[in-house]
């Protein structure tokens, strides 16, 4: 079999303000025709840089060594040494790229048909009407319904998944033999992700394209890849076909990576044990949070009705209990979390937090209660004031609520807290940007727990982290919850993550609560069709098992 691309001893260095940084170190890879090679690794492993080298897309600060041999119509070409003009000819016709964020990869002021035709007209002499015909044809083949009409639509008229289909159509229209897909499903919801993965599989089977799939998600790898290369610190640590890699990983790093991936069903035992440990009258205690027909509407512009984010949701969180809130983007899960913390006003129904009715509450009367609530934000990069040290940030709640006169005064308590979240005391003197994402998220936990709150709201605390870091933060969260005994609302889009921590799981869909119950109930025997589809869409890191699940999902979809 011929290789579509072979990378030989590739090394890439970047000039940064702090000197040279090597991103890729002596990488040798090859992709055969009609093959899906997945490059897996965590952030900073050099996987994206490797992929961008194939298209010659590196910025000017990069220096490259080695060779990237791409088989083109005029024989093998070394991408690294190509001139800009030759690169343009190669891009699109021989190798195409699918980007992570479909909404930014499309130009909002042109119709999708125009954008697809643009690629065609750049490489071939083709009339406007013929180009449009080709665009309609390729849109139909990537599964856009009614392509004759929708070819004249603008990108904002498509959903996220459809936009990604259009991006893939742009890659396919010139019959590129190699598609480089950089995290093609990371920005998408799980159910949409499953559809896009199906489409990419069809790209291979029906269009005969080879695919380089860059991802950090082992489930996606198991679903799609024929061969897998695991990258770590700029080097390829292991390369094997998918079945071998998942069944018998050789490198220690691969083993660690696979072990860190959360599985659905991990937490059931744990949750059952905790449920048994509770006394019989526990459920009689007053709940910490009670929502009755909760409705939250964002104000609309110029008299138009606003957007209803949460519609008639009822649930309660009892003392010491972890409620997992699961849903896809736009399901209203973050809105509920923010409403509990008093960041978003409640517009209807009733939401009682620690005895305070949040409907129409005034900030002044709620302020004393704030010391009872901790909040952990999603993005560890922005949840700390970049100008304050970690110790100052963690001391903020203590100073605000008068438990300490100044950050320096609170230092002893801050050191205790940092140790509780397993950060060395010395880290208190560092600035947020000097910590990694996982460390920052632990410091964020320390800040949320500083006042020993009885309720903690965690809004996707691990979704910005790498899997191995996520596993550690989740462990820590579970341990702290045992130790401090706070009630928690744990918000996540990932069922497997919620399953590890939560006593009960609530599933949100379009602002409505579709299912609620213990982990065993919701994940073991889901009743609602949406929950079933959500669960079936979640890829598992095991190719054989994933193939079975894929078939089950297809059955579910056709049954709809």
């Amino acid at each position: 079999m011929t290789n579509v691309v072979s990378i030989e001893n590739l090394g890439v260095s970047f000039a940064t303000d702090a000197g040279a940084v090597k991103a890729v170190d002596d990488v040798t890879l090859s992709v055969a025709a009609g093959e899906v090679l997945a490059i897996v690794g965590e952030s900073g492993s050099g996987k994206t840089v490797t992929a961008k080298t194939i298209l010659g897309l590196l910025p000017e600060t990069a220096t490259t060594s080695g060779a990237v041999l791409l088989s083109t119509a005029d024989g093998e070409r070394n991408v690294i040494t190509l001139s800009k003009r030759d690169l343009r000819a190669v891009r699109g016709t021989d190798v195409a790229m699918v980007f992570q964020e479909p909404s930014t990869a499309l130009n909002p002021v042109f119709t999708v048909g125009w954008q697809i035709a643009e690629g065609l007209r750049a490489h071939t002499k083709i009339s406007r009407s013929a180009a449009k015909k080709r665009a309609i044809d390729v849109l139909r083949r990537v599964g856009i319904p009614d392509p004759e009409k929708r070819v004249d639509y603008y990108p904002h008229q498509f959903s996220g998944g459809q936009k990604q289909r259009v991006v893939i159509a742009m890659a396919l229209v010139l019959d590129a033999k190699l598609i480089v897909a950089d995290e093609p499903t990371t920005a998408l919801d799980v159910t949409v992700q499953a559809e896009i993965l199906d489409l990419l599989r069809r790209c291979r089977d029906e269009f005969g394209a080879a695919i380089v799939l860059i991802t950090h998600n082992m489930g996606v790898v198991a679903d799609l890849a024929d061969r897998v290369a695991v990258m770590y610190q700029g080097e390829v640590v292991e390369q094997a076909d998918a079945h071998t890699l998942f069944s018998s990983p050789q490198a220690d790093y691969t083993k660690a990576l696979l072990a860190a991936v959360p599985h659905v069903g991990q937490g059931t035992v744990h949750a059952a044990a905790r449920a048994e440990g509770r006394t019989a009258d526990w459920s009689a205690n007053a709940p910490v949070v009670v929502a009755r027909d909760l409705r939250i509407q964002y104000p609309g512009r110029f008299g138009r009705p606003g957007f209803v984010a949460v519609d008639g949701v009822s649930f309660e969180i009892r003392a010491g209990e972890v409620l997992g809130l699961v849903g896809e983007s736009g399901s209203g899960k973050t809105t509920i979390g923010r409403a509990i913390a008093g960041l978003t006003p409640v517009t209807g129904g009733s939401l009682e937090v620690l005895g305070h009715e949040m409907l129409g509450i005034r900030e002044r009367s709620f302020k004393p209660t704030r010391s009872q609530i901790g909040f952990v934000f999603q993005d560890p990069a922005s949840s700390f004031n970049p100008l304050l040290t970690i110790a100052d940030c963690v001391a903020e709640p203590l100073v605000i609520h008068g438990r300490a006169a100044s950050p320096a005064d609170a230092r002893a308590r801050v050191d205790e807290l940092l140790e509780a979240v397993q950060l060395p005391r010395a880290y208190g003197d560092r600035y947020p940007h000097e910590l990694s994402g996982g460390q920052r998220q632990r410091a964020s936990l320390a800040r949320a727990l500083a006042l020993e709150p009885s309720l903690l709201v965690a809004d996707e605390p691990t979704s910005a982290l790498d899997v191995s870091v996520q596993a550690r933060v989740l462990d820590l969260f579970a341990e702290l919850q045992r130790e401090f005994g706070f009630a928690a609302l744990f918000i996540s889009h990932d069922l497997a993550v919620v399953d590890i921590l939560a006593d009960r799981i609530a599933v949100l869909y379009h602002g409505r609560l579709v299912e609620e119950g213990t982990g065993a109930e919701v994940l073991g025997a889901p009743q609602d069709p949406y929950t079933q589809r959500l669960l079936a869409s979640l890829p598992v890191p095991d190719p054989a098992e994933q193939a079975r699940r894929r078939d089950a999902l297809h059955r579910l979809r056709t049954a709809d």
Partner: protein, 357 residues
């Protein structure tokens, strides 16, 4: 747990983190040339202003010395190296003293507009609502006027057109202030609105921090990173506005301070009669002062943007491999410069524009 040894990341000294010093160390090639040229011009400008009493052979309003009056429109000579003006003043002395006036006006104008503009922008951006709308509309309205016209109106309102040194400088400075407050207001307001949505501000809100505490502890210092840039650009515009005011005749009386624009105005008729020295030297002084400040400002602007900033090319495939977060507890030393050496978006701090190392 995290037992990984920490490689000490050399902490740059305070001196190296100062706004302009940092950028000077960071720059390479043409950008460094521009910055150095600008800094040299600015240094000359400032030194001239500070040591004007020592450098200038005469007072700015001196018309005679021991040997009698200077005489008007005298060509350059040993006694008057740059000649004398139509009013009988020594051109060299007027040019040197003019630097002092210019600096005083810049300092007063920038200080006034920075304090008022930043405070308004912060409060308006943070609280929003109708006061914010009104302020934005007022600022837009001010933008719509030609700045010189506005400055003329202000100077008439404040001083009736002409006055003594303190009054004149204050009038000129306030005229300029009115024009520049909207700029600071807009910049700080935009930053505040952006920062207001950042997680660390929301986190402070969740903790129950009071609004003033959030504004001044969390928002203000993060919102001021582009200020040094606007200050330099505004300073050069302030010189031009001052010269413009003087040129039209709303400046400072020649007997109370030396002012380049005024001298230019008085030399209009000289130009046609072949008397070149009265117009040339004040003009050159304005050009050089503006050029120096603008060069510094533009260089700071380029250096602030990682995409515009030039870097030394690296040798083929050199450098250390950055560690990824798989080490327990995450990466501790991203590269030779620590995690901060990598482009991770967290590249600004209070010392102005883009401070990384």
């Amino acid at each position: 747990m995290t037992t990984a040894t920490l490689r000490p990341v050399a902490k740059p000294s305070l001196w190296q983190r100062l706004p302009v010093v940092h950028q000077l160390r960071q720059s390479v090639g043409v950008q460094r040339g521009m910055l150095v040229a600008g800094l040299v011009l600015m240094a000359i400008f400032i030194l001239t202003a500070v040591f004007a009493p020592l450098l200038a052979p005469f007072r700015f309003n001196q018309l005679r010395d021991a040997s009698g009056t200077f005489g008007s429109q005298q060509p350059p000579s040993a006694a008057h190296p740059l000649g004398t003006t139509v009013g009988g003043y020594d051109v060299l002395s007027r040019v040197i003293w003019g630097a002092q006036t210019a600096i005083l006006v810049i300092v007063v104008a920038v200080l006034l507009s920075i304090f008022i503009g930043v405070l308004l922008g912060l409060v308006s951006g943070y609280f929003g609502g109708w006061p914010d709308r009104v302020l934005v509309v007022v600022c837009d309205a001010i933008y719509a006027f030609p700045s010189l016209l506005l400055a003329i109106v202000m100077s008439i309102v404040i001083s009736g057109g002409k006055s003594d040194l303190a009054g004149g400088i204050l009038a000129a400075a306030i005229s300029i202030t009115v024009v520049y407050i909207p700029q600071y207001f807009r910049v700080i307001r935009a930053e505040t609105v952006r920062i207001k949505a950042e997680a660390y501000v929301e986190s402070a809100k969740v903790l129950g921090a009071s609004s003033p505490r959030i504004m001044f502890r969390h928002v203000l210092r993060n919102a001021t990173r582009t200020l040094p840039l606007i200050v330099t650009l505004n300073s050069s515009e302030a010189i031009l506005t001052l010269a413009g005011l003087g040129f039209i005749g709303f400046g400072i009386e020649p007997s109370s301070a030396a002012e380049w624009g005024y001298d230019l105005n008085k030399s209009i008729s000289d130009v046609t009669s072949g008397i070149w020295w009265t117009a040339l030297f004040p003009g050159v002084a304005i050009v050089l002062a503006v050029l120096g400040i603008t060069l510094v400002g533009e260089s700071l602007n380029d250096l602030a943007d990682p995409r515009l900033r030039g870097r030394r090319a690296v040798a083929k495939a050199s450098g250390e491999v950055a560690e990824t977060s798989v080490v327990p507890g995450g990466t501790l030393d991203g590269g030779p410069g620590g995690i901060r050496g990598l482009e991770d978006g967290e590249s600004f701090d209070e010392h102005g524009i883009e401070v990384r190392s």
